[in-house]
Subunit: 233 residues, 2 copies
Amino acid sequence: MSDAAFLADPSPAEAADALRDADDRAVALYGACELAYDGRATSTLPVGRRHVLHKPDGTLLAHAATGHQPVNWLAPGATLSVSVEDDELRLHGERDGETLDCRFTHVSHVSLLPLDDADAEVSGTEDDLRERVLADPDLISEGFRPLATERDTAAGPVDIYGEDADGTRVVVELKRRRVGPDAASQLDRYVDALARDLHADAAVRGVLVAPSVTDRARHLLAEAGHDFVPLTP
Amino acid sequence: MSDAAFLADPSPAEAADALRDADDRAVALYGACELAYDGRATSTLPVGRRHVLHKPDGTLLAHAATGHQPVNWLAPGATLSVSVEDDELRLHGERDGETLDCRFTHVSHVSLLPLDDADAEVSGTEDDLRERVLADPDLISEGFRPLATERDTAAGPVDIYGEDADGTRVVVELKRRRVGPDAASQLDRYVDALARDLHADAAVRGVLVAPSVTDRARHLLAEAGHDFVPLTP
DNA sequence: AAATATATATCGCTA
DNA sequence: TAGCGATGTATATTT
Protein backbone atom coordinates (compact mmCIF):
# COMPACT_ATOMS: atom_id res chain seq x y z
CA MET A 1 0.00 0.00 0.00
CA SER A 2 1.10 3.57 -0.68
CA ASP A 3 2.51 5.71 2.08
CA ALA A 4 0.77 8.48 3.89
CA ALA A 5 0.91 11.88 2.21
CA PHE A 6 -0.06 15.37 3.27
CA LEU A 7 -0.90 18.43 1.23
CA ALA A 8 -1.11 21.90 2.75
CA ASP A 9 -3.24 24.55 1.03
CA PRO A 10 -3.75 22.57 -2.17
CA SER A 11 -5.49 24.01 -5.16
CA PRO A 12 -8.90 22.47 -5.86
CA ALA A 13 -7.32 20.53 -8.73
CA GLU A 14 -4.53 19.21 -6.51
CA ALA A 15 -7.04 18.14 -3.88
CA ALA A 16 -9.10 16.40 -6.53
CA ASP A 17 -6.01 14.59 -7.82
CA ALA A 18 -5.17 13.46 -4.31
CA LEU A 19 -8.64 11.98 -3.89
CA ARG A 20 -8.36 10.18 -7.22
CA ASP A 21 -4.90 8.82 -6.35
CA ALA A 22 -5.94 7.63 -2.91
CA ASP A 23 -5.95 3.92 -3.83
CA ASP A 24 -6.59 2.05 -0.62
CA ARG A 25 -5.88 5.02 1.57
CA ALA A 26 -8.43 7.00 3.48
CA VAL A 27 -8.60 10.69 2.64
CA ALA A 28 -9.00 13.34 5.30
CA LEU A 29 -9.98 16.80 4.12
CA TYR A 30 -10.10 19.97 6.15
CA GLY A 31 -11.69 23.09 4.81
CA ALA A 32 -14.88 25.07 4.41
CA CYS A 33 -17.70 23.33 2.68
CA GLU A 34 -21.42 23.29 2.16
CA LEU A 35 -23.18 19.97 2.64
CA ALA A 36 -26.34 18.59 1.12
CA TYR A 37 -27.79 15.18 1.82
CA ASP A 38 -30.75 13.62 0.13
CA GLY A 39 -32.14 10.14 0.53
CA ARG A 40 -33.88 8.75 3.57
CA ALA A 41 -34.42 12.37 4.53
CA THR A 42 -33.19 15.72 3.27
CA SER A 43 -30.66 17.96 4.97
CA THR A 44 -28.56 20.95 4.03
CA LEU A 45 -25.81 22.76 5.88
CA PRO A 46 -24.39 26.19 5.04
CA VAL A 47 -20.68 26.66 4.42
CA GLY A 48 -18.61 25.98 7.49
CA ARG A 49 -15.28 24.53 8.51
CA ARG A 50 -15.53 20.75 8.62
CA HIS A 51 -13.45 17.64 8.82
CA VAL A 52 -14.34 15.21 6.04
CA LEU A 53 -13.11 11.62 5.99
CA HIS A 54 -13.47 9.29 3.05
CA LYS A 55 -12.62 5.63 3.67
CA PRO A 56 -11.61 3.12 1.02
CA ASP A 57 -14.85 1.20 1.60
CA GLY A 58 -16.83 4.22 0.46
CA THR A 59 -17.75 5.54 3.89
CA LEU A 60 -18.01 9.32 3.86
CA LEU A 61 -18.07 11.20 7.16
CA ALA A 62 -18.39 14.96 7.66
CA HIS A 63 -17.70 16.12 11.19
CA ALA A 64 -18.51 19.46 12.78
CA ALA A 65 -17.28 20.83 16.11
CA THR A 66 -19.36 18.69 18.44
CA GLY A 67 -20.93 15.31 18.82
CA HIS A 68 -20.05 11.70 18.38
CA GLN A 69 -22.08 11.54 15.23
CA PRO A 70 -21.02 13.00 11.89
CA VAL A 71 -23.13 15.98 10.87
CA ASN A 72 -23.60 14.29 7.48
CA TRP A 73 -22.48 10.96 6.13
CA LEU A 74 -22.84 8.10 3.71
CA ALA A 75 -22.65 4.51 4.86
CA PRO A 76 -20.05 2.04 3.57
CA GLY A 77 -20.47 1.07 -0.07
CA ALA A 78 -20.96 4.55 -1.44
CA THR A 79 -19.19 5.60 -4.61
CA LEU A 80 -17.45 8.95 -4.72
CA SER A 81 -17.20 11.30 -7.69
CA VAL A 82 -14.70 14.13 -7.55
CA SER A 83 -14.77 17.23 -9.68
CA VAL A 84 -13.68 20.85 -9.81
CA GLU A 85 -16.27 23.41 -10.82
CA ASP A 86 -16.02 27.19 -10.58
CA ASP A 87 -12.59 26.59 -9.07
CA GLU A 88 -14.18 24.67 -6.20
CA LEU A 89 -13.61 21.09 -5.13
CA ARG A 90 -16.81 19.08 -5.18
CA LEU A 91 -17.47 15.66 -3.83
CA HIS A 92 -20.54 13.72 -4.81
CA GLY A 93 -21.17 10.48 -2.93
CA GLU A 94 -23.91 8.11 -3.93
CA ARG A 95 -25.24 4.94 -2.44
CA ASP A 96 -28.51 3.15 -2.89
CA GLY A 97 -30.47 6.24 -3.88
CA GLU A 98 -28.84 8.42 -1.26
CA THR A 99 -26.52 11.26 -2.14
CA LEU A 100 -24.19 13.51 -0.21
CA ASP A 101 -22.66 16.54 -1.86
CA CYS A 102 -19.77 18.53 -0.45
CA ARG A 103 -18.96 21.83 -2.07
CA PHE A 104 -15.66 23.13 -0.75
CA THR A 105 -15.22 26.88 -0.93
CA HIS A 106 -11.75 26.34 0.43
CA VAL A 107 -9.55 23.32 1.07
CA SER A 108 -6.95 23.88 3.71
CA HIS A 109 -5.45 20.44 4.02
CA VAL A 110 -5.62 17.00 2.45
CA SER A 111 -4.16 13.82 3.95
CA LEU A 112 -3.86 10.41 2.33
CA LEU A 113 -3.86 7.90 5.15
CA PRO A 114 -3.23 4.18 4.99
CA LEU A 115 -5.43 2.71 7.71
CA ASP A 116 -5.36 -0.81 9.12
CA ASP A 117 -8.55 -2.65 9.65
CA ALA A 118 -9.19 -4.33 12.93
CA ASP A 119 -12.00 -6.11 14.63
CA ALA A 120 -12.03 -5.08 18.23
CA GLU A 121 -12.47 -7.97 20.60
CA VAL A 122 -15.32 -6.78 22.72
CA SER A 123 -16.35 -8.48 25.91
CA GLY A 124 -19.20 -7.70 28.21
CA THR A 125 -21.79 -8.24 25.50
CA GLU A 126 -25.07 -10.08 25.60
CA ASP A 127 -23.26 -13.20 24.40
CA ASP A 128 -21.09 -13.09 27.50
CA LEU A 129 -24.16 -12.79 29.65
CA ARG A 130 -25.61 -15.86 27.98
CA GLU A 131 -22.44 -17.87 28.56
CA ARG A 132 -22.60 -16.96 32.18
CA VAL A 133 -26.20 -18.09 32.56
CA LEU A 134 -25.54 -21.35 30.73
CA ALA A 135 -22.54 -22.01 32.96
CA ASP A 136 -24.67 -21.48 36.07
CA PRO A 137 -28.36 -21.99 35.25
CA ASP A 138 -29.31 -21.68 38.92
CA LEU A 139 -28.90 -17.94 38.39
CA ILE A 140 -32.31 -18.08 36.69
CA SER A 141 -33.91 -20.17 39.38
CA GLU A 142 -33.04 -23.18 41.51
CA GLY A 143 -33.02 -26.23 39.24
CA PHE A 144 -33.48 -24.40 35.92
CA ARG A 145 -32.37 -26.54 32.97
CA PRO A 146 -31.49 -24.85 29.66
CA LEU A 147 -32.75 -26.84 26.69
CA ALA A 148 -31.81 -24.61 23.78
CA THR A 149 -30.44 -21.21 22.79
CA GLU A 150 -31.90 -19.18 19.96
CA ARG A 151 -34.90 -21.50 19.88
CA ASP A 152 -37.17 -20.46 17.06
CA THR A 153 -40.73 -19.33 17.68
CA ALA A 154 -43.30 -17.56 15.53
CA ALA A 155 -42.14 -14.34 17.15
CA GLY A 156 -38.47 -14.97 16.53
CA PRO A 157 -35.60 -16.77 18.23
CA VAL A 158 -35.62 -16.94 22.01
CA ASP A 159 -32.35 -16.22 23.85
CA ILE A 160 -32.57 -19.22 26.18
CA TYR A 161 -35.34 -21.79 26.34
CA GLY A 162 -35.49 -24.25 29.20
CA GLU A 163 -37.36 -25.99 31.97
CA ASP A 164 -38.10 -25.11 35.55
CA ALA A 165 -37.46 -27.34 38.55
CA ASP A 166 -41.14 -28.30 38.36
CA GLY A 167 -41.17 -28.84 34.60
CA THR A 168 -42.62 -25.49 33.57
CA ARG A 169 -41.30 -24.20 30.26
CA VAL A 170 -39.24 -21.05 30.58
CA VAL A 171 -38.33 -18.31 28.11
CA VAL A 172 -35.29 -16.28 29.13
CA GLU A 173 -34.60 -12.91 27.54
CA LEU A 174 -31.16 -11.43 28.18
CA LYS A 175 -30.25 -7.76 28.22
CA ARG A 176 -26.82 -6.41 29.09
CA ARG A 177 -28.20 -3.01 30.13
CA ARG A 178 -30.98 -1.64 32.23
CA VAL A 179 -34.22 -2.35 30.39
CA GLY A 180 -37.32 -0.35 29.58
CA PRO A 181 -40.79 -1.20 28.28
CA ASP A 182 -39.51 -2.42 24.92
CA ALA A 183 -37.71 -5.38 26.46
CA ALA A 184 -40.78 -6.31 28.51
CA SER A 185 -42.90 -6.32 25.35
CA GLN A 186 -40.31 -8.36 23.52
CA LEU A 187 -40.31 -11.03 26.23
CA ASP A 188 -44.08 -10.99 26.19
CA ARG A 189 -44.16 -11.65 22.45
CA TYR A 190 -41.81 -14.60 22.85
CA VAL A 191 -43.78 -16.13 25.73
CA ASP A 192 -47.05 -15.80 23.81
CA ALA A 193 -45.55 -17.33 20.70
CA LEU A 194 -43.99 -20.23 22.56
CA ALA A 195 -47.18 -20.98 24.46
CA ARG A 196 -48.94 -21.34 21.12
CA ASP A 197 -46.13 -23.32 19.54
CA LEU A 198 -46.36 -25.85 22.35
CA HIS A 199 -50.03 -26.18 23.17
CA ALA A 200 -52.96 -23.95 23.82
CA ASP A 201 -52.84 -24.79 27.52
CA ALA A 202 -49.09 -24.97 28.02
CA ALA A 203 -47.85 -22.83 30.89
CA VAL A 204 -44.82 -20.76 29.88
CA ARG A 205 -42.87 -18.63 32.29
CA GLY A 206 -41.01 -15.55 31.09
CA VAL A 207 -37.79 -14.41 32.71
CA LEU A 208 -36.04 -11.15 31.93
CA VAL A 209 -32.36 -11.08 32.89
CA ALA A 210 -30.76 -7.64 33.08
CA PRO A 211 -28.78 -5.44 35.47
CA SER A 212 -31.93 -3.52 36.38
CA VAL A 213 -35.33 -2.46 35.12
CA THR A 214 -37.31 0.79 34.94
CA ASP A 215 -40.54 1.18 36.88
CA ARG A 216 -42.72 1.08 33.82
CA ALA A 217 -41.03 -2.06 32.54
CA ARG A 218 -41.32 -3.67 35.96
CA HIS A 219 -45.02 -2.94 35.90
CA LEU A 220 -45.42 -4.49 32.46
CA LEU A 221 -43.52 -7.57 33.55
CA ALA A 222 -45.62 -7.95 36.69
CA GLU A 223 -48.86 -7.57 34.74
CA ALA A 224 -47.87 -10.27 32.32
CA GLY A 225 -46.67 -12.49 35.16
CA HIS A 226 -43.04 -12.54 34.07
CA ASP A 227 -40.06 -12.61 36.38
CA PHE A 228 -37.08 -10.33 36.60
CA VAL A 229 -33.65 -11.63 37.55
CA PRO A 230 -31.02 -8.96 38.25
CA LEU A 231 -27.70 -9.88 36.70
CA THR A 232 -24.86 -7.65 35.51
CA PRO A 233 -22.58 -8.77 32.67
CA MET B 1 -10.33 31.22 17.73
CA SER B 2 -6.84 30.09 16.77
CA ASP B 3 -6.01 29.16 13.22
CA ALA B 4 -5.55 25.70 11.84
CA ALA B 5 -2.09 24.20 12.26
CA PHE B 6 -0.41 21.10 10.93
CA LEU B 7 2.57 19.17 12.23
CA ALA B 8 4.35 16.55 10.17
CA ASP B 9 6.30 13.82 11.95
CA PRO B 10 6.17 15.48 15.36
CA SER B 11 8.04 14.10 18.31
CA PRO B 12 5.81 12.63 21.02
CA ALA B 13 6.44 15.75 23.10
CA GLU B 14 5.51 18.06 20.21
CA ALA B 15 2.33 16.10 19.59
CA ALA B 16 1.46 16.31 23.27
CA ASP B 17 2.06 20.06 23.25
CA ALA B 18 -0.20 20.43 20.24
CA LEU B 19 -2.99 18.59 22.02
CA ARG B 20 -2.57 20.77 25.10
CA ASP B 21 -2.58 23.95 23.02
CA ALA B 22 -5.64 22.96 21.04
CA ASP B 23 -7.98 25.40 22.81
CA ASP B 24 -11.29 25.20 20.97
CA ARG B 25 -9.84 23.38 18.00
CA ALA B 26 -10.38 19.75 17.18
CA VAL B 27 -7.23 17.63 16.97
CA ALA B 28 -6.74 15.03 14.28
CA LEU B 29 -3.94 12.53 14.82
CA TYR B 30 -2.62 10.02 12.36
CA GLY B 31 -0.24 7.30 13.44
CA ALA B 32 0.12 3.82 14.83
CA CYS B 33 -1.53 3.19 18.13
CA GLU B 34 -2.87 0.56 20.46
CA LEU B 35 -6.37 1.10 21.79
CA ALA B 36 -8.00 -0.04 24.99
CA TYR B 37 -11.56 0.73 25.99
CA ASP B 38 -13.15 -0.12 29.29
CA GLY B 39 -16.54 0.83 30.57
CA ARG B 40 -19.86 -0.41 29.28
CA ALA B 41 -17.84 -3.20 27.72
CA THR B 42 -14.16 -4.01 27.35
CA SER B 43 -12.21 -3.93 24.13
CA THR B 44 -8.58 -3.89 23.08
CA LEU B 45 -6.98 -3.42 19.69
CA PRO B 46 -3.37 -4.18 18.80
CA VAL B 47 -1.14 -1.51 17.31
CA GLY B 48 -2.33 -0.37 13.92
CA ARG B 49 -2.55 2.76 11.80
CA ARG B 50 -5.57 4.79 12.83
CA HIS B 51 -7.13 8.18 12.46
CA VAL B 52 -7.95 9.68 15.84
CA LEU B 53 -10.11 12.77 16.22
CA HIS B 54 -10.56 14.69 19.45
CA LYS B 55 -13.25 17.37 19.49
CA PRO B 56 -13.40 20.34 21.84
CA ASP B 57 -16.51 18.89 23.48
CA GLY B 58 -14.50 15.88 24.60
CA THR B 59 -15.62 13.49 21.90
CA LEU B 60 -12.85 11.02 21.05
CA LEU B 61 -13.11 8.96 17.87
CA ALA B 62 -10.65 6.34 16.62
CA HIS B 63 -11.27 5.24 13.05
CA ALA B 64 -9.88 2.19 11.25
CA ALA B 65 -10.02 1.42 7.53
CA THR B 66 -13.68 0.53 7.25
CA GLY B 67 -17.09 1.29 8.59
CA HIS B 68 -19.21 4.25 9.51
CA GLN B 69 -18.60 3.60 13.14
CA PRO B 70 -15.35 4.40 14.97
CA VAL B 71 -13.51 1.29 16.08
CA ASN B 72 -13.26 2.83 19.56
CA TRP B 73 -14.65 6.03 20.96
CA LEU B 74 -15.77 8.12 23.92
CA ALA B 75 -18.96 10.12 23.82
CA PRO B 76 -19.07 13.91 24.25
CA GLY B 77 -18.16 15.14 27.72
CA ALA B 78 -15.04 13.07 28.15
CA THR B 79 -11.92 14.65 29.59
CA LEU B 80 -8.60 13.99 27.91
CA SER B 81 -5.24 13.53 29.61
CA VAL B 82 -2.10 13.71 27.49
CA SER B 83 1.27 12.36 28.46
CA VAL B 84 4.54 11.06 27.07
CA GLU B 85 5.87 7.83 28.54
CA ASP B 86 8.73 5.68 27.21
CA ASP B 87 8.97 8.24 24.41
CA GLU B 88 5.40 7.43 23.35
CA LEU B 89 2.42 9.72 23.12
CA ARG B 90 -0.43 8.53 25.31
CA LEU B 91 -3.98 9.71 25.41
CA HIS B 92 -6.26 8.84 28.27
CA GLY B 93 -9.90 9.76 27.91
CA GLU B 94 -12.35 9.40 30.73
CA ARG B 95 -16.07 9.91 31.03
CA ASP B 96 -18.54 8.65 33.52
CA GLY B 97 -16.54 5.58 34.49
CA GLU B 98 -15.55 4.81 30.93
CA THR B 99 -11.96 5.06 29.72
CA LEU B 100 -10.26 4.97 26.36
CA ASP B 101 -6.49 4.73 26.16
CA CYS B 102 -4.48 5.35 23.02
CA ARG B 103 -0.81 4.42 23.08
CA PHE B 104 0.90 5.77 19.99
CA THR B 105 4.02 3.92 18.94
CA HIS B 106 4.38 6.49 16.21
CA VAL B 107 2.70 9.79 15.40
CA SER B 108 2.90 10.71 11.76
CA HIS B 109 0.77 13.82 11.67
CA VAL B 110 -1.12 16.15 13.97
CA SER B 111 -3.66 18.75 12.86
CA LEU B 112 -5.29 21.46 14.92
CA LEU B 113 -8.62 22.21 13.27
CA PRO B 114 -11.08 24.99 14.09
CA LEU B 115 -14.48 23.49 13.33
CA ASP B 116 -17.80 25.24 13.07
CA ASP B 117 -20.82 23.80 14.70
CA ALA B 118 -24.00 23.42 12.77
CA ASP B 119 -27.40 21.91 13.24
CA ALA B 120 -28.49 20.33 10.03
CA GLU B 121 -32.05 21.17 9.05
CA VAL B 122 -33.50 17.76 8.42
CA SER B 123 -36.80 17.19 6.73
CA GLY B 124 -38.61 13.94 6.23
CA THR B 125 -38.74 13.13 9.94
CA GLU B 126 -41.55 11.79 12.07
CA ASP B 127 -42.50 15.37 12.96
CA ASP B 128 -43.10 16.08 9.28
CA LEU B 129 -45.29 13.01 9.07
CA ARG B 130 -47.32 14.26 12.03
CA GLU B 131 -47.78 17.68 10.44
CA ARG B 132 -49.07 16.00 7.34
CA VAL B 133 -51.60 13.91 9.22
CA LEU B 134 -52.79 16.90 11.26
CA ALA B 135 -53.21 18.91 8.08
CA ASP B 136 -55.31 16.16 6.53
CA PRO B 137 -56.81 13.94 9.25
CA ASP B 138 -58.87 12.03 6.70
CA LEU B 139 -55.64 10.21 5.88
CA ILE B 140 -56.28 8.22 9.07
CA SER B 141 -59.92 7.57 8.28
CA GLU B 142 -62.91 9.47 6.94
CA GLY B 143 -63.97 11.95 9.60
CA PHE B 144 -61.08 11.42 12.02
CA ARG B 145 -60.66 14.35 14.43
CA PRO B 146 -57.32 14.88 16.17
CA LEU B 147 -57.78 15.97 19.80
CA ALA B 148 -54.21 16.09 21.04
CA THR B 149 -50.60 15.32 20.21
CA GLU B 150 -48.21 13.75 22.69
CA ARG B 151 -51.16 12.94 24.93
CA ASP B 152 -49.85 11.39 28.12
CA THR B 153 -50.82 7.90 29.17
CA ALA B 154 -49.47 5.49 31.76
CA ALA B 155 -47.46 3.89 28.96
CA GLY B 156 -46.03 7.15 27.70
CA PRO B 157 -47.06 9.95 25.34
CA VAL B 158 -49.21 9.04 22.33
CA ASP B 159 -48.26 10.58 18.97
CA ILE B 160 -51.79 11.59 18.02
CA TYR B 161 -54.94 11.06 20.02
CA GLY B 162 -58.33 11.65 18.48
CA GLU B 163 -61.85 10.58 17.66
CA ASP B 164 -63.35 8.50 14.89
CA ALA B 165 -66.30 9.56 12.75
CA ASP B 166 -68.46 7.44 15.06
CA GLY B 167 -66.91 8.76 18.27
CA THR B 168 -64.50 5.92 18.95
CA ARG B 169 -61.27 7.01 20.59
CA VAL B 170 -58.22 6.53 18.41
CA VAL B 171 -54.53 6.20 19.19
CA VAL B 172 -52.25 6.97 16.26
CA GLU B 173 -48.62 5.88 16.27
CA LEU B 174 -46.42 7.38 13.57
CA LYS B 175 -43.29 5.84 12.08
CA ARG B 176 -41.29 7.33 9.24
CA ARG B 177 -39.84 3.94 8.28
CA ARG B 178 -41.09 0.46 7.60
CA VAL B 179 -42.01 -1.04 10.95
CA GLY B 180 -41.43 -4.35 12.68
CA PRO B 181 -42.87 -6.07 15.75
CA ASP B 182 -41.48 -3.46 18.14
CA ALA B 183 -43.74 -0.74 16.75
CA ALA B 184 -46.79 -3.03 16.91
CA SER B 185 -46.04 -3.73 20.58
CA GLN B 186 -45.57 -0.06 21.27
CA LEU B 187 -48.96 0.81 19.78
CA ASP B 188 -50.49 -2.02 21.75
CA ARG B 189 -49.10 -0.65 25.01
CA TYR B 190 -50.51 2.78 24.25
CA VAL B 191 -53.95 1.47 23.36
CA ASP B 192 -54.09 -0.64 26.52
CA ALA B 193 -52.98 2.24 28.68
CA LEU B 194 -55.45 4.69 27.16
CA ALA B 195 -58.33 2.24 27.47
CA ARG B 196 -57.59 2.08 31.19
CA ASP B 197 -57.10 5.80 31.52
CA LEU B 198 -60.55 6.40 30.07
CA HIS B 199 -62.77 3.64 31.36
CA ALA B 200 -62.65 -0.08 31.79
CA ASP B 201 -65.11 -0.51 28.96
CA ALA B 202 -63.95 2.24 26.63
CA ALA B 203 -63.32 1.12 23.09
CA VAL B 204 -59.99 2.39 21.78
CA ARG B 205 -58.85 1.89 18.25
CA GLY B 206 -55.14 1.71 17.42
CA VAL B 207 -53.78 2.98 14.13
CA LEU B 208 -50.21 2.52 12.99
CA VAL B 209 -49.10 4.96 10.30
CA ALA B 210 -45.94 4.02 8.40
CA PRO B 211 -44.68 3.49 4.86
CA SER B 212 -45.08 -0.28 5.27
CA VAL B 213 -45.05 -3.18 7.77
CA THR B 214 -43.32 -6.52 7.99
CA ASP B 215 -45.42 -9.70 7.96
CA ARG B 216 -44.84 -10.42 11.61
CA ALA B 217 -45.81 -6.92 12.61
CA ARG B 218 -48.90 -7.09 10.42
CA HIS B 219 -49.92 -10.26 12.23
CA LEU B 220 -49.44 -8.66 15.62
CA LEU B 221 -51.52 -5.67 14.58
CA ALA B 222 -54.30 -7.87 13.19
CA GLU B 223 -54.38 -9.99 16.35
CA ALA B 224 -54.73 -6.94 18.54
CA GLY B 225 -57.34 -5.47 16.20
CA HIS B 226 -55.30 -2.43 15.23
CA ASP B 227 -55.30 -0.80 11.83
CA PHE B 228 -52.45 0.00 9.51
CA VAL B 229 -52.44 3.09 7.32
CA PRO B 230 -49.72 3.22 4.67
CA LEU B 231 -48.18 6.67 4.45
CA THR B 232 -44.71 7.75 3.41
CA PRO B 233 -43.15 10.92 4.83
C1' DA C 1 -32.47 -9.04 -0.25
C1' DA C 2 -35.50 -8.92 3.82
C1' DA C 3 -36.36 -9.30 8.68
C1' DT C 4 -35.08 -9.13 13.28
C1' DA C 5 -32.51 -7.78 17.31
C1' DT C 6 -28.18 -5.75 19.34
C1' DA C 7 -25.20 -1.70 20.41
C1' DT C 8 -19.75 0.86 24.50
C1' DA C 9 -25.60 2.77 20.16
C1' DT C 10 -26.22 8.55 20.26
C1' DC C 11 -29.37 12.34 20.74
C1' DG C 12 -33.09 15.15 22.34
C1' DC C 13 -36.90 15.94 25.25
C1' DT C 14 -39.57 15.79 29.42
C1' DA C 15 -40.86 15.06 34.16
C1' DT D 1 -30.92 13.15 36.52
C1' DA D 2 -33.46 9.28 34.71
C1' DG D 3 -36.69 7.60 31.59
C1' DC D 4 -38.35 7.23 27.12
C1' DG D 5 -38.57 7.18 22.21
C1' DA D 6 -36.57 8.74 17.51
C1' DT D 7 -32.61 8.20 14.50
C1' DG D 8 -30.85 9.52 7.46
C1' DT D 9 -29.43 5.17 13.48
C1' DA D 10 -25.17 1.23 12.03
C1' DT D 11 -24.14 -3.59 12.38
C1' DA D 12 -24.51 -8.54 12.63
C1' DT D 13 -27.09 -12.70 11.92
C1' DT D 14 -30.32 -15.51 9.90
C1' DT D 15 -33.74 -16.72 6.45
